[in-house]
């Protein structure tokens, strides 16, 4: 086995680090605290470097960046705590459109997505279908050359700043649930769409989107009628190479170490000197190294063109569950000051610790709950009999 990165990936890592040092300013980081986990300026700087287009597979006309380089980029951006959700969505949607979209979508959407001018929001989940995404009820009915869409989506995060939504609809209710789905890319300024904020316990703002007799032309359909599950699989395929979530903990660990070095406990000793604290920091650092192994492995598989699935579930499960554990450890060890909101009371990094504690629980839920991941691992890797 060879764990070394190819030289061009190492060079690229340096380039990304320099990019981060230059563009990931405090202002960018702070802008993400308002609840919108996207920063247009930073996003467009990434686009300007050609990294969005670079991430699109070369056989689709993008390219220039290997799967391993992409992994390096996403690792560095996560270690620095950069907002990258918009980046992931742009790359996934551009790739899916280039593979399976019509010319209208290719022309209208792809250039603007890859230049960082426009954003798409994912519209999969509904109030009654969370983990069971294929149970979507939002209806699309053909009416002449038009489609009429009625329904509701939940967790259409970034919809309030995006221009489009990648919408999963039901076009045939009379067949098994996976077989009656169709995807559209719907302009969010279409008549009949309403976007309502969904505020969360974490810092994120998400959205519920409502579709009331929304009329769009057939050119906005992507993939075959009733062939939506193919699009879903393609989107998941492209997400595999680019999805973040492997390194949620390092910004928290770094912040805590800084805090623990500067802050004394009630007995006057520095927090960093406490052996119990030190063991927990090491345990957290070990978990991060484990995440690194998982992340490099999926990058390697992607670079080999392997369609991996359960490996992604394991990565996601381990990274999010360990992060949730860390977020509890660190807020405890920070003491009462760990509770403070960002900017309160000069607590050096108190607000960051609180923010992670409130954010962490969602990471074991979105993008596939830990329970779903464990099901997939039990069935897919261990071959245990299906229970549901």
């Amino acid at each position: 086995m060879d764990w070394s990165f190819p030289p061009e990936a190492e060079e690229f890592r340096n380039e990304v680090k320099e990019f981060i040092a230059e563009h990931l300013t405090d202002d960018v980081i702070n802008s993400t605290h308002d609840g919108t986990i996207h920063n247009w300026e930073f996003h467009q700087k990434i686009a300007e470097r050609g990294w969005l287009g670079g991430a699109v597979p070369s056989e689709l006309g993008g390219g220039g960046k290997s799967a391993i380089e992409m992994a390096v980029m996403i690792e560095e951006l996560q270690l620095a705590g950069a907002p990258i959700d918009g980046m992931g969505v742009a790359i996934v949607v551009a790739s899916v459109v280039l593979e399976l979209g019509n010319d209208h979508l290719k022309e209208t959407l792809v250039p603007k997505l890859l230049s960082g001018e426009t954003l798409v929001s994912f519209g999969y989940t509904e109030p009654d279908s969370g983990s069971d995404v294929a149970a979507a009820q939002t209806r699309a009915v053909k009416n002449g050359s038009e489609w009429i869409i009625n329904g509701q989506k939940m967790w259409t995060t970034m919809a309030h700043i995006a221009d489009y939504v990648l919408l999963l609809t039901r076009t045939n209710p009379d067949v098994p649930k996976h077989k009656g789905l169709t995807f559209f890319i719907v302009p969010l300024d279409a008549e009949g769409i309403e976007i309502q904020p969904v505020h969360t316990m974490g810092t994120e703002r998400s959205n519920a989107t409502f579709y009331d007799d929304v009329r769009i032309g057939d050119e906005w359909r992507i993939g075959d009628i009733d062939g939506g599950w193919e699009i879903m699989k393609a989107a998941l395929k492209y997400e595999r190479g680019i999805a973040g979530g492997q390194f949620p903990s390092p910004p928290l660990i770094d912040a805590f170490i800084d805090y623990a070095q500067k802050t004394t406990a009630p007995d006057g000793s520095y927090i960093i000197e406490n052996p119990v604290v030190r063991e927990r920091i090491v345990r957290s650092l070990i978990d991060v190294e484990v995440c690194r192994g998982f992340a490099y492995n999926t990058a390697f598989l992607a670079s080999e063109g392997v369609m991996f699935g359960v490996e992604g579930s394991m990565t996601k499960l381990f990274a999010s569950e360990s992060y949730k554990k860390h977020s509890k450890w660190f807020i405890d060890m920070a003491g009462v000051e760990g509770l403070l909101y960002l900017g309160e009371d000069d607590a050096p990094v108190g607000g960051v610790i609180d923010e992670h504690f409130r954010h962490a629980p969602v990471t074991t839920i979105y993008g596939g709950t830990s329970e779903i991941s464990r099901n997939l691992i039990a069935e897919g890797l261990l071959g245990l009999p299906r229970t549901r």
Partner: protein, 337 residues
């Protein structure tokens, strides 16, 4: 040995259950999220005699004991009520124990004045105090002395994870009300009472968090079945409620030990506090997880419980230090040379 509430205690519980149901409904909790304190609810609590209930009658109180306070603390946890009942009870009992003639006691007994205390001996020049943003009298312990700050109304609240009315206070210029062994004894006793009542409240909070999650799991369908029928989810809830039951018994024993002035009161209070802190967070986090995305949405109640499950006990500081303190009560500090 009788491990249920007595008929009298059941009556007290019913009264305060009605009180919290009306004055600390989840809508009222939400409407107090900015300040962490519902002044109207406190005013109504004053009218019930709640604030002074557990003060000696000679001080204008109701003469009830800590066991009665625990009944209220359990409900406080269930309702995540935004009133500083626990801090007020322990701080006023401390003042009453040291000085039955304290001039503030009549107003503390009615609840016109609110009292609280710093939960660690003071080392820094200032200290973050629970209920520090709403208390009129704040007790601290420094250098073997118990100090009271008498005009404590000037501190600005610090916004925080659990929407608690905490604030940072300086203790300069406070009045010394006890010193020496006596001060040490009574400060520690008050702190243990806070821990034991907090353990009870966290247990109530955790039990309600499980209730919320179980109710959701009995209503929510995914993959064509109730999610509550998935064994993975069942086992998570079963472990959570087992810890909450354990926490219930342990915190109840701690209250009883403090009430009886038993030797083990301080130990059991610390142990109950530490165990309840973990059990409550586990219960709330488990329940939140099984809500899926909705658990994270402000609109759903379980997140209120998750944040308080951590915020309430963390007012005492890093629990790791509390484990060391308990270790020092039990264990030899050195090897046998």
């Amino acid at each position: 040995m009788y491990l249920r509430l007595s008929p009298d205690e059941e009556s007290i519980k019913d009264i305060f259950d009605s009180f919290f149901d009306t004055e600390c409904s989840i809508e009222r909790v939400r409407s107090s999220e900015d300040s962490g304190f519902d002044a109207d609810a406190w005013q109504r609590f004053v009218e019930t005699g709640g604030p002074g209930m557990c003060l000696p009658e000679i001080c204008g109180g109701g003469g009830a004991d800590l066991t009665t306070a625990a009944i209220v603390a359990d409900l406080l946890g269930r309702y995540v009520a935004p009133i500083p009942f626990i801090e007020h009870v322990v701080a006023t009992r401390l003042i009453a124990s040291l000085d039955q003639n304290n001039a503030d006691l009549p107003q503390l007994a009615t609840g016109e004045l609110i009292a609280s205390m710093a939960l660690q001996p003071l080392s820094e020049s200032t200290e973050i105090v629970p209920a520090g943003a709403v208390a009129n009298r704040i007790i601290g312990f420094r250098g073997g002395e118990i100090i009271v700050i008498e005009n404590a109304n000037n501190a600005s609240p610090l916004r925080n994870t659990a929407n608690l009315p905490i604030a940072r206070h300086s203790f300069d210029g406070g009045t010394v009300i006890a010193s020496g062994d006596k001060a040490r004894y009574w400060y520690q006793k008050a702190r243990s009472e806070w821990q034991a009542l907090m353990a009870v409240a966290l247990t109530g909070l955790g039990r309600k968090a499980v209730d919320i999650g179980v109710t959701y799991a009995k209503e929510r369908y995914q993959f064509g079945v109730l999610i509550g029928s998935f064994q993975g989810i069942q086992h998570g809830f079963a472990s959570a409620i087992t810890n909450i039951e354990g926490s219930h018994f342990l915190s109840s024993r701690a209250i009883a030990a403090l009430q009886e002035n038993a030797n083990r009161g301080e130990q059991l209070a610390g142990m109950a506090f530490l165990f309840a802190s973990e059990a409550a967070l586990n219960a709330a986090a488990t329940s939140l997880q099984y809500h899926g995305g909705y658990g994270f949405a402000e609109e759903y109640d379980v997140q209120l419980y998750y944040r308080r499950a951590k915020g309430w006990p963390l007012q005492l500081g890093d629990p790791g230090l509390e484990y060391q303190r308990i270790a020092n009560l039990y264990l030899p500090k050195e090897g046998v040379h």
